[in-house]
């Protein structure tokens, strides 16, 4: 029988390797490969850990319960696949170190009992992410992200401290702070313009961490708020507001996807819209003691799909030959839920299991329409082209092909996703 690791070493392992990876930067591709291996090892250890692993951090209880464990596994999958893609298509920067550090912080945020501290650790995580992304001469998106993360996390921490004073009684100021914080961090309209701007100013492969791990952590934190303070789901208008915000955000992002000026911008707003749809699986779980199984499946299925779209967008921006075009179209369709891709079972399970599944049909239709129109526009009319760079092109293409194969493999055997999370 494999001995179960303790929670603190388990959460600290990626951060410790991140320190080592930082000093491996002079060797090209080595940091990415080491980060990939570290994330795979950490995921193996998390899967072999006993359920409900607990401990304490400076006297504060830490519990790696079901949702926390699933979130950590999703974050480690995103770190592993992101670094694998970057090992093939290396972009300089601190991404390998910061992504590993981010996985450790996601683990702390998900498992710490105190929501004020969880929000503050989330703030550190978000701010560190801004250091990992390269820029294309403009950093307005980075700056907007920095402001959104700082103000949003402090608003959530403030809300938690107000609500803790009387957990069973509604707090008006606490509710306002919570809604502003959640809106800013989940990139919901009218607070979510930072994500499209970030997609314009940085490469989509590294900024996908904001969408795949950071926002998934916020989703779990929002659910924890509703579980700690039951009035939030029972008596406040928060679930209705969330539903309206999801619809508006998906409609706005779908329109932006349809008229995106470049493949890079297309990838950013398309993944933003697709994440927003996942919030519909959160609404029935608000106030209950566990998340729906479909939420974890949805968040995991979008990891390879979003990274595939990001690499396909990079390849298309550098060349307009047939293979990049085909890969880009396939990536867009995979995000829309083409059968045989990992997102399809998540959509199907949501439609079959959600109490108000009709609520999903309209935004899903909008997303699909935006994705298809935008992809066709970019293929026929072209978009912003980057300087051709043959070695980089082959790297982006290879990374896109590898991720396409992973997407196909997982799409044809979706039980592997469930097995990974179980």
């Amino acid at each position: 029988m494999t001995p179960s690791p303790a929670i603190i070493p388990l959460l600290a392992l990626p951060a410790l390797v991140a320190g080592l990876v930082y000093f491996l930067r002079p060797w090209e591709r080595t940091p990415q490969i080491v980060a990939f291996l570290a994330a795979v090892t950490a995921a193996y250890l998390v899967r072999s850990a006993a359920p409900g692993l607990s401990g304490d951090l400076m006297g504060r209880p830490l519990v790696l319960d079901g949702p926390a464990r699933q979130l950590l596994l999703i974050a480690l999958a995103a770190v592993a696949l992101g670094n694998l893609a970057l090992a093939i298509y290396p972009i300089g920067g601190f991404f390998p170190s910061v992504s590993l550090l981010s996985a450790s912080l996601v683990g702390v945020v998900a498992s710490i009992d105190n929501l004020t501290l969880a929000s503050l650790f989330l703030l550190i995580n978000g701010v560190m992410l801004a250091l990992a992304w390269g820029t294309r001469g403009r950093a307005r998106g980075h700056l907007q992200f920095l402001v959104a993360v700082t103000v949003g996390c402090l608003a959530l921490a403030y809300a938690a401290s107000l609500m803790d004073a009387a957990p069973d009684e509604p707090s008006r100021m606490g509710l306002i702070a919570f809604e502003i914080g959640a809106g800013l961090l989940l990139a919901l309209m009218p607070f979510g313009f930072w994500e499209g701007m970030l997609g314009r100013d940085a490469d989509p492969l590294t900024t996908s961490t904001a969408n795949l791990t950071f926002k998934a952590t916020v989703l779990v934190l929002v659910w924890r708020f509703s579980a700690h303070y039951p009035w939030l789901a029972a008596t406040s208008a928060f679930p209705q507001l969330l539903r309206v915000a999801v619809l508006i955000t998906v409609a706005y992002c779908s329109l932006r996807t349809a008229v995106a000026p470049s493949a890079r911008a297309y990838a950013a707003v398309a993944t933003q819209a697709q994440f927003t749809l996942a919030l519909l699986t959160l609404i029935p779980a608000l106030g209950s003691s566990s998340l729906l199984p479909v939420t974890g499946l949805w968040l995991l299925a979008r990891v390879p799909t979003s990274l595939f779209l990001a690499t396909a967008a990079l390849a298309l921006q550098q060349s307009r030959r047939l293979l990049p075009r085909l890969l880009f179209v396939f990536a867009g369709l995979a995000l829309a839920g083409l059968p045989g891709t990992p997102v399809f079972p998540a959509y199907l399970a949501s439609l079959l299991s959600l109490p108000r599944s009709n609520d999903l049909l309209l935004p899903l239709g909008l997303l699909t329409a935006g994705l298809v129109v935008g992809a066709l526009r970019l293929l026929w009319h072209g978009g912003e082209q980057e300087m051709p760079d043959p070695p980089a092109l082959s790297g982006a293409l290879t990374a896109a092909v590898v991720l396409a194969l992973i997407v196909l493999a997982l799409g044809l055997q979706p039980s592997r996703l469930l097995l990974y999370l179980s």
């Binding site: 501290l117 550190i124 560190m128 700056l143 402090l154 401290s161």
Partner: protein, 207 residues
């Protein structure tokens, strides 16, 4: 037993009147909205953390006040190094700044809002005035600037206001919470420095 250094610091902090702290905080708020000069912004960071420490010393443990002073010094030093590096690299954002009269107008509007919310009503609650005024002036600075250095300064002031709140107003007052906010302060100053050293855009609509 309180060590002599902390004891002396606590005595010094208690000797400063609340009115002086409120005046210092008001000046810091005006400076962060109206000023473009990097040395003034660094001084504003330092002053906001010192004012926070004085208020923490009078309302909570001196150890916490000492921690706030240390956080302020280190964060201001990081921003000062960034300012020097920017001057050497000639990374000027002045051509993208809003006109000074407009920034002064924003200060007046924020002051009027604070006045209408009875923030300065007697008896003066210095910690409430400081936390609300620091957060409000930082919000005004965030809406009127695209310079990463100034945005970083404003975010650090928001964090100073939250340090004051968590050290004095909630059941969460502990060195652990303060330590986590301190790490957040260092992370924000690191990220702001990183972005502030990038070349500025040539046109205002690119900023």
């Amino acid at each position: 037993m309180v060590p002599p250094l902390l004891d002396n610091l606590a005595r010094f902090a208690l000797s400063i009147s609340a009115q002086v702290v409120v005046l210092a905080v008001l000046s810091v708020g005006v400076a962060v909205v109206a000023a473009q000069s990097e040395p003034i912004l660094v001084l504003a960071i330092l002053a906001s953390y010192f004012a926070t420490a004085v208020l923490v010393a009078s309302l909570a443990a001196p150890e916490m006040a000492f921690a706030v002073v240390l956080i302020g010094i280190f964060v201001a030093l990081m921003m000062q190094f960034t300012a020097v590096e920017r001057r050497q690299l000639r990374r000027g954002w002045a051509h993208l700044a809003m006109p000074r009269p407009f920034r002064v107008l924003i200060v007046l509007v924020v002051l009027w809002l604070a006045w209408s919310l009875n923030l300065f009503a007697r008896p003066l609650d210095a910690s409430r005035v400081a936390s609300v005024w620091l957060a409000a002036s930082a919000a005004a600075a965030l809406t009127t600037s695209t310079d990463p250095f100034k945005v970083g300064t404003a975010l650090l002031m928001v964090l100073a206001a939250s340090l004051l709140y968590y050290a004095t107003s909630t059941s969460e007052a502990s060195l652990f919470v303060l330590a986590v906010i301190a790490i957040a302060c260092f992370a924000v100053s690191l990220a702001a420095s990183h972005l502030a050293l990038l070349p500025p855009p040539s046109r205002p609509d690119d900023a």
